[in-house]
């Protein structure tokens, strides 16, 4: 039982998504949720396999969001691919802005320290070295 729960998507989350699209008066049997849980899990495996094959053929080791989009298209799920491409674009933009914002915050706080120190010693202090954070290739 535990094994099954770990190898499929959680039924509570799946049920919640199903309810979002159904009218409020609709009822959902437990078995229907279980079937949907299995189907959604198979969907992930199926698309991942396709994306993985492509990566292999191109001698790449890391699967990216773009690979998943291409796999969706290759499997005939073009409408998903289109929406996911837009979603990915927005996600990457949001990530970029988040990183820039946190870098700016770090810069401005160290700048304040500079001002304090130069008042005391007359010499500007060094800013903290900031290594750039890789945006998209965050390996798990």
């Amino acid at each position: 039982m535990v094994d099954e729960q770990n190898r499929t998507l959680p039924i509570a989350n799946v049920g919640r998504i199903m309810k979002q699209i159904l009218p409020p008066s609709a009822k959902l049997s437990l078995e229907a949720k279980q079937r949907m849980q299995e189907c959604a899990t198979e969907f992930i495996s199926f698309v991942t396999s396709e994306a993985s094959d492509k990566c292999h053929k191109e001698n790449r080791r890391t699967m990216t969001g773009d690979d998943i989009c291409r796999a969706l298209s290759a499997l005939g799920l073009d409408n998903y691919a289109g929406a996911i491409v837009r979603y990915l674009h927005k996600y990457r933009e949001a990530e970029r802005e988040r990183i820039i914002a946190s870098q700016n915050k770090a810069t401005s706080s160290s700048r304040d320290e500079d001002i304090e120190e130069s008042d005391q010693s007359g010499q500007p202090s060094h800013q903290a070295d900031q290594t750039p954070t890789p945006l998209m290739n965050i390996f798990i």
Binding site: E38, C39, M63, I84, Y87, Y91
Partner: protein, 106 residues
């Protein structure tokens, strides 16, 4: 209760979370889908969270149409199977739904 529509949330506010499906579980499923799956970028489970949400909603909607055709108000597993069989795009699920029916009867 979580707010619906993380996609519309992104378009408006630029926020990408919270996700409707757990990313760690998605990653686990991805890794189990084949020996070739070794490294996965950080955005991949996030992409699948969205794709799965779309998939579940579409299959649910199609299943519900079958329920309504039968003049019922409870969506059951046979409706899900019927929707899969009626949709060419979901052919990859045919084995899965027929396995489910045989395991139930045995």
């Amino acid at each position: 209760m979580r707010q619906a529509g993380s996609y519309s949330g992104i378009l408006i506010s630029g926020k990408t979370g919270p996700h409707l499906l757990p990313l760690a579980r998605i990653k686990k499923i991805m890794k189990k889908s084949g020996d070739g799956v070794k490294m996965i970028s950080g955005e991949s489970p996030i992409v699948f969270s969205k794709a799965c949400e779309m998939f579940i909603k579409e299959l649910t909607q199609r299943s519900w149409m079958v329920t309504m055709q039968g003049k019922r108000r409870t969506l059951n597993k046979e409706d899900v199977a019927s929707a899969v069989m009626a949709t060419d795009l979901f052919d990859f699920l045919l084995n899965l739904v027929s396995e489910m029916d045989t395991s139930k009867s045995s």
